[in-house]
């Protein structure tokens, strides 16, 4: 099976029913995308498929074959951090950081769809779980990225 991740096509030997998350982590070796629940609740595994945020734990790898997949590692094209990532650094959003890959991918997708999101837009789009409790900084950073 071929998976196109961050602009690079990988030939992976994996059962097509394997969740995309585990194909990305184990076959392709990109571990920035996290496992948190396996049931599409927490969002730690969020990646972009053809530009849309998808919880990669709950989509079979086979269903993502041939589509354009972006992970946290591919967000900063050419090594330049995106506005979202810069805002995350400026506002010191991460605490433990484990959920933040998914949080950033969700925020990046939101800002692409709505470049000037309202608080209500942020509420609706950012459904990821964070146990450290970074929500206040997440909201600030999204607004800052929208202004940047």
């Amino acid at each position: 099976m071929k998976l196109t991740i961050n602009g690079k096509t990988h030939d992976v030997d994996v059962d097509p029913n394997t969740p995309l998350l585990w194909a990305i982590r184990e076959q392709v070796g990109l571990t920035g995308t996290k496992y948190g629940c396996g049931v599409a609740q927490c969002g730690a595994c969020t990646v972009h498929i053809d530009g849309s945020p998808i919880r990669s734990c709950s989509i079979p790898a086979g269903a993502a074959a041939g589509r354009k997949i972006t992970t946290i590692e591919g967000l900063a094209a050419g090594g330049t951090l995106t506005k979202v990532q810069k805002a995350w650094i400026d506002h010191e959003v991460p605490q433990c950081g484990y959920c933040q890959s998914g949080m950033i991918m969700a925020a990046a997708a939101l800002l692409k769809a709505k470049p000037k999101p309202t608080d209500a837009d942020i509420d609706a789009a950012m459904t990821n779980i964070c146990r450290c409790g970074t929500f206040q900084e997440v909201r600030k950073a999204i607004h800052a990225a929208a202004k940047a």
Binding site: T31, Y35, G36, T71, L81, G97, I129, C132
Partner: protein, 727 residues
């Protein structure tokens, strides 16, 4: 990306190995100190500091970073005294094995109880100060001038009379040969330049690009992956399993029993191991606890409320007599459930075992506890064991005292000598094999005389003791009592009760269960704050007094607690009417030697609770990094309000019923109230903690406001069971 273990340990092994272990064991050498070197050759200037020729300052951290910002705060403490360039600081973890070899050179590794900074600030500052003195002396020696004529700032030493300058990196070699001074005065807090400032965290960059390596992400050459299932009923055992059913599945390398209680599948990839384990028929010997239902547990706790025998935690006057003689009494019963930590990164550990060496890579809150688990499970002596700490995806108390996943990983690795095996728990395993926030009931009775004056209070706790299971020696010393149960309502110490009452009895009927209790962010302060702070409001109402006024009458001897409560009351505008449709609540407590209080404004419509505003104040004595304190305080409301509204574990047929976030929910961003943080620095000898204290005031402040909004007292957690929803 491959995580190379040699990188993580490089600076710690070479020093002792190169010297044959003599200095590493702390032996006195006859010709003055010999330089201990990091693996890159850079000298140690005392155990906390390594300085590289390019002036990079490496600060060693024994405590673990799990998001709470402790490494940044500790680096500020060292750097303040070291007078080094903050922009050239890196940090690293010494290994527990190396620390043991060097007579626990780095002290306590345990990162729990909000201790990271408050119980190590003195010796890490001293470490920085000693290193500075050695560096300055080395420069003075080089110039042939008195050290008293030299000053250090920003990693540069200047000889004041001549203006000569030299950087730390240039004199580090010479400094490392100087006998460390014993007594170096530490700065007066008023002279701090870095402590107290919102210095940027040292660990942010790799957390926004996917590069941060957590335990789950570890890669070692030749490594296999394991999935595990413990008997779902605590105390049960493996009876049998049919390995042949899955042995031929793709990628599967081994199906094995882990101790008496678990079965694991080891495969090339984790997903292969997990799916094979799901298909593996396992027969359990679940034992007698398989009959236990939630109702049985509740009945046991209810009986404890009336029990004659109870351990006393706090006592003044004669509460029972005062209550018997009271003209009016109010009484209420409260309940707090089992709750899992639900760290975002489930439990995991990686182990490699040979007859000569047992190594473990683990996200741990306590490297030494992990090390002890390695010794016990491997059966090897300390010099053949090592632990490499990896960044934690949350800890919250699950990854410190409990090292069950380490024991499991070693047990697996011992059955596959030489092969590194990474053991990952699924979320389901993580939630059903927890060490839960203890389950507790409480009955409170308050008395008043005919004029409405308070006469006495009896607070009876009935439920689980953590220490009875985890630190039985302490309970034995206390003649069966668990002093930790009384966190926040204790008669003395870092969790002392901040109300002085004429007649008071707080006691605990200990009622254990087969479901294991554990330390949890805040732990016993959480339920005790709900019990006492909601009941304070109930008593205030019975006395016809304002809740803040009612509290103040008992707080005269507790000025710092009073100041913190007053601060939130003033900021929220307690004495003025709340905005239309909004209702207020307040709560305060002392925890981990910090004084905390919260006040909130909320509205309730059709059982939907909207929290509009929270004001939280904390007095930890000293605020090392106010920006990180603000984040810990606002984050505490996420943990605390998730617990209040959403989270309960129950037992069914002896096993935990809720096994993932769909049945054990956690708060989302849309529910996050605006949190304003007030930091008060009361100073003093004793420093308070930050990571946990505020959690406990979240729930009672909100519950008290919900009562004002609805006229209903909700006395059992979580509120989802009452149909209340946080929006």
């Amino acid at each position: 990306m491959t995580f190379n273990p040699k990188v993580s340990r490089r600076t710690f092994i070479a020093g002792s190995a190169a010297l044959g272990g003599g200095l590493a064991l702390g032996l006195q050498l006859p010709f003055g100190p010999t330089v201990v070197r990091a693996a890159d050759g850079s000298p140690e200037i005392g155990v906390w500091v390594v300085i590289r020729p390019d002036d990079t300052v490496v600060i060693r951290m024994a405590r673990s970073e799990m998001g709470q910002g402790t490494i940044t705060g500790l680096a500020q403490l060292v750097a303040e005294e070291l007078e080094c360039n903050w922009n050239k600081i890196v940090y690293e973890y010494p290994t527990p094995g190396e620390s043991v070899k060097r007579k626990r050179a780095w002290g306590d590794f345990s990162t729990g109880g909000s201790r990271g900074i408050r119980t190590s600030h003195d010796y890490v500052r001293l470490g920085g100060a000693r290193a500075r003195v050695m560096l300055v002396q080395a420069a003075a020696n080089q110039w042939g001038v008195p050290a008293s004529e030299c000053v250090a700032a920003n990693s540069i030493i200047t000889h004041k009379p001549s203006g000569r300058k030299v950087s730390y990196g240039k004199v580090a070699e010479a400094a490392a040969k100087i006998e460390p001074p014993k007594d170096v005065p530490l700065k007066n807090p008023k002279d701090w330049k870095l402590i107290g400032k919102p210095a940027k965290r040292l660990d942010t960059a790799n957390k926004v690009n996917g590069k941060q390596v957590y335990g789950f992400d570890l890669k070692l050459p030749g490594m296999l992956n394991a999935a595990i299932k413990e008997c779902p009923v605590f105390g049960g055992k493996v009876k049998s399993f049919d390995a042949s059913r899955v042995a031929s599945l793709k990628g599967v390398k081994k199906v094995l029993q882990v101790g008496d209680t678990a079965v694991a599948v080891v495969a090339e990839h984790f997903w292969q191991a997990k799916t094979a384990l799901d298909q593996l028929p396992i027969v359990w010997d679940e034992g007698a606890s398989a009959k236990v239902q939630q109702a049985d547990v509740l009945k046991m706790l209810q009986a404890g409320l009336d029990a004659d025998q109870a351990f006393v935690g706090n006592q003044a006057g004669d509460a029972k007599k005062a209550l018997d003689g009271s003209a009016k009494k109010v009484t209420a019963e409260y309940f707090y459930p089992w709750q899992d930590h639900a760290c975002m990164e489930p439990m995991n550990a990686t182990a490699r075992y040979t007859a000569d060496k047992c190594e473990v890579w683990v996200p741990t809150q306590d490297g030494e506890a992990s090390f002890a688990a390695v010794l016990a499970a491997s059966g090897l002596p300390a010099d053949k064991c090592e632990v490499y700490k990896i960044n934690l995806g949350g800890g919250f108390g699950r990854r410190g005292a409990f090292q069950d996943y380490v024991t499991q990983a070693i047990n697996i690795a011992k059955q596959m000598p030489g092969t590194p095996v990474k053991l990952l728990w699924t979320r389901e395993e993580d939630m059903t094999q927890g060490r839960y926030h203890p389950i507790m009931m409480c009955r409170l009775t308050g008395g008043f005389d005919a004029a409405g004056n308070f006469t006495g209070l009896h607070m009876r706790l009935s439920g689980q003791s953590i220490l009875k299971e985890v630190r039985p020696a302490i309970v034995e010393q206390q003649k069966g009592r668990d002093p930790l149960t009384f966190q926040g309502v204790a008669d003395s110490g870092e969790h002392s009760f901040c109300y002085t009452m004429p007649n008071l009895l707080i006691d605990h009927a200990m009622r254990q269960s087969h479901v294991p209790p554990g330390f949890w962010r805040g732990v016993n302060i959480n339920q005790n704050a709900v019990f006492i702070e909601c009941f304070m409001d109930e008593m205030a109402e019975a006395a016809g007094k304002d809740p803040v006024e009612f509290r103040r009458q008992f707080m005269g001897p507790h000025p710092r607690a009073l100041a913190v409560m007053n601060a939130v009351a003033e900021r929220i505008g307690w004495t003025r009417p709340a905005p239309a449709g909004l209702h207020r609540g307040i709560a305060q407590m002392k925890a981990f030697n910090s004084f905390v209080a919260a006040a909130c404004e909320l509205s309730v419509k059709d059982n939907k609770v909207k929290i509009h505003r929270i004001v939280a104040a904390t007095d930890p004595g000293y605020a090392v990094n106010p920006a990180q304190i603000e984040r810990q305080v606002s984050g505490s409301f996420v943990y605390g309000l998730s617990g209040l509204f959403l989270q309960e574990h129950t037992v069914k047929d002896g096993r935990i019923a809720e096994d993932n976030f769909h049945t054990y929910q956690s708060m989302r961003l849309a529910q996050m109230p605006k949190v304003e943080t007030i930091i008060i620095q009361g100073g003093g000898e004793t420093w308070g903690g930050i990571g946990e204290p505020t959690i406990c005031v979240a729930a009672p402040a909100v519950l008290n406001a919900i009562y004002k909004a609805t006229g209903k007292r909700y006395r059992t957690v979580p509120l989802k069971n009452h149909g209340l929803e946080m929006v």
